[in-house]
Symmetry: C2
Subunit: 151 residues, 2 copies
């Protein structure tokens, strides 16, 4: 277990590196069957004829796996990793057997003006494959409680 992180514990430029995780063909097809049943995520032949050129994971699958790697590998944020909003760019297809890793950096950290018990950080998380190529960039705004003020 990591130690819980509060707003006071983080700073701009701080980096987190996740564990690595391989994505299998079964996982790609199972996720797609449930949430994104388009031919290029389900079937090798159809994918070969699509703009992907070969079977590719759903971008939502990449996003969900990125969240899992973030939750497992970074120090737990106090109150949890609760995003108010995110932006995602999918920059390259995720293929069968790709080994994914998430490298994150805090871009901004500011105190809340209206609520002095918390701060808001902006976290940029690059999901990379085993060649070091970026497959997804996730930018999240995350609310972080401050430590309790001791009276």
């Amino acid at each position: 277990m990591h130690e819980t992180l509060y707003f006071e514990d983080v700073h701009v430029g701080q980096r987190f590196e996740s564990a690595k995780r391989v994505i299998t063909v079964d996982e790609i097809k199972r996720f797609a069957s449930e949430f994104d049943p388009q031919p290029f995520h389900l079937d090798e032949e159809a994918a070969a004829k699509s703009l992907f050129g070969a079977l590719a994971a759903s971008g939502w699958h990449t996003a969900a796996l990125t969240m899992r790697l973030l939750v497992d590998s970074t120090a737990p944020m106090s109150g949890g990793v609760v995003g108010a909003g995110v932006e995602i760019a999918w920059t390259r297809p995720v293929r069968v057997g790709d080994e994914l890793q998430v490298v994150s950096e805090i871009l901004e950290a500011r105190e809340s003006r209206s609520k002095p018990d918390r701060g808001i950080i902006t976290l940029r998380s690059e999901t990379r494959n085993q060649k070091g190529e970026t497959v997804q960039v996730l930018t999240s705004r995350i609310v972080m409680p401050r430590r309790e003020t001791k009276g």
Copy 2:
């Protein structure tokens, strides 16, 4: 089956309404176990003590279900619904038993300058619960092929 949509078939202001789908407690916990294992998505008691106040679905689960409703319910985009990038705002928790529906509108549709065989649309998709409250706003930029020019 719906008819396939090409770039020429869509226009700004066009709206799509998805089917409705109830989210169950088992689905919420199963998704969270796999992709977002934080206590407020997994355990009623822990959730009651968290900022959510009660069990809530992972935002990534809401996003994935939104994709499923979009894929099932709107006319298939030629080439598939392939997003180059998205923004997501989670505006309200998704609770056990909520019935979700996605209402989408095309905000922008423009021809690609560099690639005359395609256009890019901006689609705004509101995911709403059974009370009509918006739980998520997804804004997607989607590449859409044009119909083949007949020689």
